[in-house]
């Protein structure tokens, strides 16, 4: 029920431009995830959509209605604040019920919804406490609860799960997904957790410095990052980046020359002589033969339980990260063969724009 | 300068200025004595005085009022001056009886520094315009009522004849004395009768009924300041004051103010008496008593000082003082002095002293009178109640 259109929206604090000429169409029923480095303007954007922050330039439409001047209370949306902003003088129960009572809902319905949310968020034993008697994670769950009971047409979540433990986070993710399925509301969700972004999003927006770097489905972003920034930002552990130069090969075809590998051609390349960057995801690196290959030495093995990170030194001294399963048994100092496949490579030009492959397959 | 005394008085800018000049004169004459002058307005004066008395830190010389002097004397806060009379303190030039009120239980506790008597200040312009002819020094209550009616009628009610004096116990006191009685008996009991009170309130009640004096709205504000007097605000032509205050009334008004006697009831006495408007007293806490006496003496004997002080504190109670002052008087001053001289032969004996609790009786008179003025109680009932209450009050105050 809520299409959201953002046109040339900008936000300035004095001389500081925080959001800069932003355009975005969010369709009804979308689950849009907003990611980006700390301080890039995610919260600000959310707050502008909510109507809490004045819009310096541009226009925001909800369902084709300009809402720039519509107060937050009339926008029929709910929001989880990054800072929670729980009402300190109300018990948890009242915090949850407050928004519903504003809607003049029947007492029974309020109780039903509140109880249901409390159950889903596992805060039932805390219902009569005041916020100051809660732990960080408990507060955060109450904040989520306050947003979800209202079931509006638009949800805004600002890092709603950041203070929860892994298990709870998974459970909450499932609850939010279920809520989304049930209500079919539009959701805009800020997170730093890539797993959350990947599993929940229908589309992801990558913001940087108040500008959109790329919008797309999780797969698109992961497999076809539009630029070097997105490539580096999406994916954990971080993608490997190797500098390269474009040169003309003996057959006249343009080739990429990267110091540790023989020249190769991963797709259509721009003019020779230009600098480029080759990116390969750590889990796409093979310790064994590949379409191009070299030798490497194991510098460090980081053991993370279910997975292992192997830091490799290439002959030129460049570093390369290999991401393997928890069963991997390489040891520091081991010599290994390092192989890469052309299909796994992302090539970016000197400006950081993607050049090849024009269309990558799912890795 | 190794001797110093403090003098505390209530005042106003003019009086303060004059008093400081007198202090300077005194210091010039007695270079070894330093006098520090302490002044404040009337309302605050008594609060501060009480506090200092309680703390045992009274100024050496204080200014006293006839309403308060007995309160302080009876509690031992003031010292008798008798031993200094003729022995540093010259009083031989004083009028007879000038210090009668300051003499309590046979001791002289306050030297009068100004005499006064009751008076009815009136707006001469209004009187003239209304064509009221009367003898200010000899008129009756009927004359008074007629004048009120005439003025009210002439001005179409814009100016009434007089303020409603129902609540002025000072005016009432004259009424009582006209009948040959005193307010209080020698032993500090009520001496007036219920009939005195009733008749007084009924007299004013009739005028009020007739609409020739100010209405209750103006009347029931008690202890009005000068600025609130009907005569000052132009809503009435007469009020009650002591003679020495007529000058002050004049200072707030553009029209010339005259002074008349309190009208007497036909066939009765005049009821007026002379009383000191202020005293100088020496306090229990006085340190250098010699210096105090020298200071007081300077006030009453130095012609320079008397001229400096002017009429502000009342009319000098000595022939010598009045003579010294005569060339320096303003027009209104002259009128006041003329008035004072004119009533000399109509003056009765000094009243009995006011007992402890007299101040509270005064409050009670105003309070009970208010009920009458507002029409909440008939005068007869109120009069009984007042006399009864006054008895209680005096009893409790002893």
């Amino acid at each position: 029920m809520a299409d959201l259109t953002i046109r040339n929206v900008g936000k300035r604090y004095g001389a500081v431009r925080v959001i800069d000429g932003l355009n975005l169409d969010i369709h009804d029923g979308e689950f849009l995830v907003l990611v980006g480095p700390s301080g890039c303007g995610k919260s600000t954007l959310l707050r502008m959509i909510a109507g809490l922050e004045e819009i310096s330039d541009g226009t925001i439409f909800i369902d084709d209605k300009i809402v720039n001047d519509l107060p937050a209370s009339k926008r029929d949306l709910s929001m989880v604040f990054q800072s929670y902003a729980l009402y300190p003088h109300m018990s948890v129960r009242k915090n949850l019920a407050f928004g519903l009572q504003n809607l003049k809902m029947s007492r029974k319905e309020v109780t039903r919804r509140v109880d249901e949310a409390a159950r889903a968020l596992q805060i039932e034993p805390l219902m009569d406490r005041k916020p100051r008697q809660l732990s960080g994670g408990q507060k955060q769950r109450v904040a989520i609860g306050r947003a979800i009971v209202r079931e509006p047409k638009l949800f805004l979540f600002d890092e709603p799960l950041s203070n929860l433990d892994a298990e709870l986070r998974v459970q909450m993710r499932v609850e939010l997904a279920a809520l989304y399925t049930r209500l079919k509301s539009t959701m805009i969700y800020v997170t730093h957790d890539q797993v959350e972004a990947m599993t929940l999003a229908t589309r992801i927006v990558v913001l940087r410095g108040g500008k959109i770097e790329q919008v797309g489905t999780p797969e698109e972003l992961y497999n076809r990052p539009a630029n070097l920034f997105v490539a580096g930002f999406i994916g954990s552990p971080k993608i490997n980046m190797l500098p390269a130069t474009i040169q003309t090969g003996p057959d006249g075809q343009r080739q990429l020359k990267c110091v540790d590998f023989a020249p190769f051609t991963p797709g259509v390349l721009p003019d020779a002589g230009a600098e480029a960057t080759i990116c390969v995801r750590p889990e796409a690196v093979r310790l064994g033969a590949g379409q191009v290959q070299t030798t490497g030495t194991v510098r460090l093995v980081e053991y993370l339980g279910s997975e292992t990170l192997v830091y490799l030194d290439l002959p030129s001294g460049q570093s390369l990260l290999f991401h393997g399963s928890g069963r991997d048994s390489h040891k520091q100092g081991d010599s290994v063969i390092v192989g890469l496949d052309l299909a796994d490579m992302h090539v970016f030009d000197a400006d950081g724009q993607r050049v090849a492959p024009a269309a990558a397959q799912a890795a | 300068q190794d001797r110093s005394i403090r003098h505390f008085w209530w005042g106003n800018p003019t009086r303060d200025e004059r008093t400081f000049q007198v202090i300077d004169l005194f210091k010039a004459a007695h270079p070894q004595i330093d006098v520090s002058g302490e002044a404040i307005g009337w309302g605050d004066y008594w609060t501060k005085m009480a506090t200092q008395t309680a703390g045992g830190n009274m100024a050496d010389v204080v200014q006293m009022d006839h309403g308060f002097i007995n309160e302080y004397v009876s509690r031992g806060a003031l010292l008798p001056l008798d031993e200094y009379v003729g022995n540093g303190l010259q009083l031989d030039h004083y009028d007879d009886g000038a210090n009668a009120v300051g003499t309590i239980n046979g001791g002289l506790y306050g030297v009068s520094i100004g005499s006064t008597s009751q008076a009815i200040p009136y707006n001469t312009r209004v009187f003239e315009e209304a064509g009221v002819e009367f003898d200010p020094l000899n008129w009756t209550t009927e004359d008074f009522a007629a004048a009120c009616a005439r003025i009210t009628e002439h001005t179409g009610g814009a100016v009434t004849g007089s303020e409603d004096l129902s609540l002025y116990i000072e005016n009432f006191e004259v009424w009582v004395r006209q009948a040959g009685r005193e307010m209080y008996s020698e032993d500090g009991k009520i001496a007036l009768t219920v009939e005195d009170v009733r008749s007084y309130w009924d007299f004013w009640g009739e005028l009020r009924e007739a609409g020739v004096i100010e209405g209750p709205d103006a009347t029931v504000r008690l202890d009005k300041g000068m600025s609130e007097l009907g005569i000052v605000r132009g809503t009435s032509a007469m009020t009650f004051r002591y003679a020495n205050q007529v000058g002050a009334v004049q200072s707030l008004m553009a029209d010339p103010v005259g002074a008349a006697m309190v009208p007497h009831r036909a066939g009765m006495e005049y009821g007026h008496f002379v009383l000191p408007s202020m005293f100088l007293s020496m306090t229990r806490d006085a340190g250098d008593k010699e210096a105090v006496i020298a200071y007081i003496n300077h006030w009453i004997t130095s012609p320079e000082a008397i001229v400096t002080l002017g009429l502000d504190r009342g009319i000098p109670p000595s022939e010598m003082g009045r003579e010294a002052l005569a060339p320096h008087m303003s027009e209104v001053d002259s009128r006041v002095v003329a008035y004072f001289s004119g009533i000399q032969d109509k003056i009765g004996p000094t009243p009995t002293r006011k007992p402890k609790g007299a101040g509270e009786v005064r409050d009670n008179f105003m309070r009970t009178g208010t009920e009458v003025v507002l029409g909440n109680m008939p005068a007869s009932e109120a009069a009984e109640r007042f006399v009864e209450d006054a008895g209680y009050i005096l009893e409790r105050a002893q």
Binding site: L86, Y87, P88, R132 | G43, W46, V220, G225
Partner: protein, 315 residues
């Protein structure tokens, strides 16, 4: 890591561990309270106890106080009609003036809290009557305004209402004092303003998001979060109202007139003490008032648990 350690506090080498513990726990508190403790025990307590003692004496401020036991209190409760009258006047005033004044102050503070231009000017203007306080000018003006031909009646005449002398009619005079109190709402207003400004904005934002109407926001968010300040104003205004002196004193010329309808408790007390030289009786009056105020204050504090929320209180 070499680090300049603070010198050990003087009580560190107290032998008795209990003493040590007592000091380490309490010392900062007592140190900060030291000025107040000194002031209280050296300057305030003595006079207060003295007044308690004087309440049992007959004391005319010149001669020494004379012990009379409970006489003062007995007289007060059994025979003193004016005491009861003073109580009636004072209670009426407190019951009306305090809530009205606070409501006025809060309403204006709310108006001024929202970003208006020239807000500083308004603040100053609204504070002005309070600056004028209980001056003689105010008394003169007030009597004139509410007099029979005053501005108030002139305004009423426009509506065809025949006015009366509001101050000089015993049954209405107290209300002019209430109006005066309302008019001088500056101090509570300023405190409310400071309080309103301390409310975290994000709570307003949250309630906006929750779709709260302005009225509901006021009652459910603003007011509860302002509760500590409301409580302060309530208690203090109540105490001050019980002790109202200056304005009543000057408007009634110190007498409580007309017909004792402005006989505020402290006006009565002042007259007893300073005009009729009954400081002993006045002290007794004072202690009765103190007990009345204390009881009401204690009740206020007790109920505050249920409506005043302190975010930082440990429980």
């Amino acid at each position: 890591m070499g680090r300049a350690l603070l010198p050990p506090p003087f009580f560190a080498n107290f032998r008795c561990p209990l003493m040590r513990r007592f000091f380490s726990r309490n010392l900062p508190g007592y140190m900060f309270l030291l000025p107040w403790l000194l002031g209280f025990f050296l300057l305030a307590l003595g006079p207060i106890l003295a007044s308690l003692y004087l309440g049992f004496t007959r004391y005319d401020m010149v001669s020494a106080p004379r012990w009379v036991g409970l006489d003062n209190y007995q007289y007060m409760f059994e025979r003193d009609r004016r005491f009861w009258k003073a109580l009636e006047v004072t209670f009426t005033y407190v019951a009306l003036a305090v809530p009205l004044r606070l409501a006025m102050a809060l309403a204006v503070a709310m108006l001024l809290d929202k970003g208006l231009r020239s807000i500083g000017l308004y603040r100053a203007i609204f504070y002005l009557p309070s600056i004028l306080g209980a001056s003689i000018a105010i008394a003169i003006l007030w009597r004139a305004m509410f007099g029979i031909d005053g501005v108030v009646n002139q305004a009423l005449a426009l509506f065809g209402i025949q006015g009366i002398g509001w101050i000089t009619t015993p049954s209405t005079s107290i209300y002019t004092m209430v109006v005066l109190a309302m008019w001088q709402f500056g101090s509570p207003m300023l405190i409310f303003l400071a309080g309103l400004r301390s409310i975290p904005r994000d709570l307003y934002e949250a309630s906006e998001i929750d779709g709260t109407s302005p009225v509901r926001q006021f009652f459910r968010i603003t007011l509860p979060l302002l509760a500590p300040v409301v409580f302060f104003n309530l208690v203090l205004q109540m105490i001050e109202a019980f002790k109202t002196f200056s304005s009543a004193f000057i408007i009634s010329n110190g007498t409580g007139a007309p017909a004792d309808s402005l006989l505020f408790y402290t006006v009565y007390l002042f007259n007893e003490a300073f005009r009729f030289f009954r400081m002993g009786y006045a002290s007794a009056l004072a202690w009765v008032l103190l007990v009345i105020i204390a009881v009401i204050t204690v009740i206020a504090f007790a109920t505050s648990k249920y409506w005043v929320h302190y975010e930082n209180e440990r429980d």
